[in-house]
Amino acid sequence: MSPLALEIDAITVSPGGAPVLRGLSLHVAAGTRTALVGPSGAGKTTLLRAVAGLAPLDDGDVRLGERSLRNVPPHRRGVAVVFQEPRLLAHLSVEENVALPLRAAGVGGSERRSRARERLDEVGLGGFSARRSQGLSGGEQQRVALARALCADPDLLLLDEPLAALDPNRREDLRRLIVRLQRERGLTTLVVTHDRAEAAELGERVALVLEGRIVQHGPPKELFERPVSAAVARFFGVANLLRGEVRDGLLEVRGTAVAVPGPDGDATLAIRPEHARVDDDAALRAVVRESVYAGTHVKLVVDCHDLRLELHVPPAGAPAAGREIGVDLPRERLWRLPEDDEIAVSAAAAAPSRGAGRPSA
């Protein structure tokens, strides 16, 4: 069976009466993995629920391959969901939980058992068939839920914050497992997370949801380094935004001319904290306000007059708070945001009245 593409076409969904998704569109190519990321309350879970048929569409359509799912009840959609919590049935054994979709499809007892055991083997729970769910750890329960979803042999796999409840080491294990199983099967997959780094690791492509719309969708690196708007930049950790008028390829930053890419005119430029450098010979001067050791790097908060910038520098030789430093903003690392940045919403978005303006902390 060849994988199917997921096409979400201008859907509006209002789970509690007020619209949470407003004309949202998203395409997930057949057999690929997209991570849906955004702050809490942006509508990520609502989107998954709408695709699964658990939240009704006010408007728009969801298609899997050529088939519209609009009037298809959840149990006939060929969509499997791994929820944030494992949602296992306490009165059944692990194996019976995994076999639930097969039982629903009328698959006979012995075949059901052997297929459920195969899935359990795949998620690394080979010997767990006869156990009850209560005795399992959170990570094990989530693997059982994953095995159950795979057992349904779905056309589309939806995962809602599958790693959220786990400690860092188990999270890494389960992340690898999800990616491996998805690749092996070429399963079209949409996975929700609120963590941008996790999104980059889980998705071949990342889609950012802000206020009920997809504001940018592309390879992870693009969202981190080529944000389409200030809101996207802020969500992906780019606090450094320079605004002003570019003349002769130079932007005046607090009295210092900085070479920037692109044509002359009004512009907003962004640079990631790890791309800005401390260089004592640089013309742009700043005072270090904070210097925080963060394990892999030192986080510097510096002030150039009233402009606050953030830099991530290697721990070795990082300047202490109170020191005056030079800041180098390499021209090739500066990214010029598309012009009407505060309302730059990707392609199809209808009325940009409230746009993507609200920054995410």
């Binding site: 658990l54 149990h75 969901v81 919590e85 049935l89 009165h91 629903a104 499809a105 159950r148």
Partner: protein, 255 residues
């Protein structure tokens, strides 16, 4: 382990306090002759049991059992959706629903019964089993709904959603997900419903007309023939204990 010994003694005392009156009842039921000052009966015999299991009393037992079982079943079917709506807090003003629901419990049963009789006479329901079931439902339904509503809430809804997303058709979902999830509470509601119906006196008397029901038949004997009353009381206890045992089992191994 002083504490456990103290606990054991206290537990024993408590159990005795509950068991003694029952024991007296058993002795009374088998005492053909038991004159005042004697601590034990002068003559033992089966007269009470024989009378209790014959004629009107036996008929009353079966009618009561039938009514209690049917009433409980109907109350569970009717109470389920109501309990679900209340348990999932879907009502804007649940207090009003609760007040209406509790109304029959606040009014004395005989008063409710007398009011029902008037209408049942007009509808031709007096002195029929269905009439008695309807009258019992007035008292049983509130208990069943109030107990059952605690079974519903976000956990059950979450499991049902999982069922929908796992390919389960509505009936499969009900059978494999919802029912097992609420089974312990359902069993408790059924047990309580059964007991409430089984021990209805007022409404049975008011609506039942001449039809004998166990609590109605038992009461006159308390004065006239305590031995038969005691035997009937034991008979009265039997289904309640059986229902309790069944409930305990259902609660432990949900379907």
């Amino acid at each position: 382990m002083v504490e456990t010994r103290v606990q054991r003694v206290l537990g024993g005392l408590l159990a005795t306090a509950f068991a003694l009156p029952l024991l007296v009842l058993v002795v009374r039921a088998f005492a053909d002759r038991w004159r005042a000052p004697a601590l034990l009966p002068q003559d033992w015999g089966m007269r009470g049991i024989e009378l209790a299991f014959s004629g009107q009393a036996a008929e009353a037992f079966w009618t009561s059992l039938l009514v209690a079982v049917v009433t409980t079943a109907v109350a569970l079917v009717l109470g389920w959706p109501a309990a679900r709506v209340l348990g999932e807090r879907r009502l804007k003003r649940p207090a009003i629903a609760f007040l209406l629901l509790a109304m029959p419990l606040l009014v004395p049963p005989y008063a409710t019964g007398a009011g029902l009789t008037e209408w049942f006479l007009r509808l031709g329901l007096v002195d029929t089993v269905s009439g008695i079931v309807l009258a019992h439902l007035v008292g049983v339904l509130p208990y069943v709904v109030v107990v059952l509503l605690s079974a519903f809430g976000p956990e059950v809804t979450a499991l049902e959603e999982m069922g929908r997303a796992s390919g389960l058709a509505p009936l499969q979902r009900w059978r494999w997900v919802t029912l097992p999830a609420v089974a312990p509470t359902l069993a408790a509601a059924a047990f309580l419903g059964f007991l409430v119906s089984w021990s209805q006196y007022g409404s049975s008397l008011a609506v039942g007309g001449g039809r004998p029901m166990l609590p109605v038949v038992m009461l006159p004997f308390v004065r006239s023939d305590p031995q038969v009353a005691a035997a009937l009381a034991l008979l009265f206890l039997a289904p309640a204990i059986a229902a309790l045992a069944l409930t305990a089992r259902a609660a432990r191994s949900p379907l």
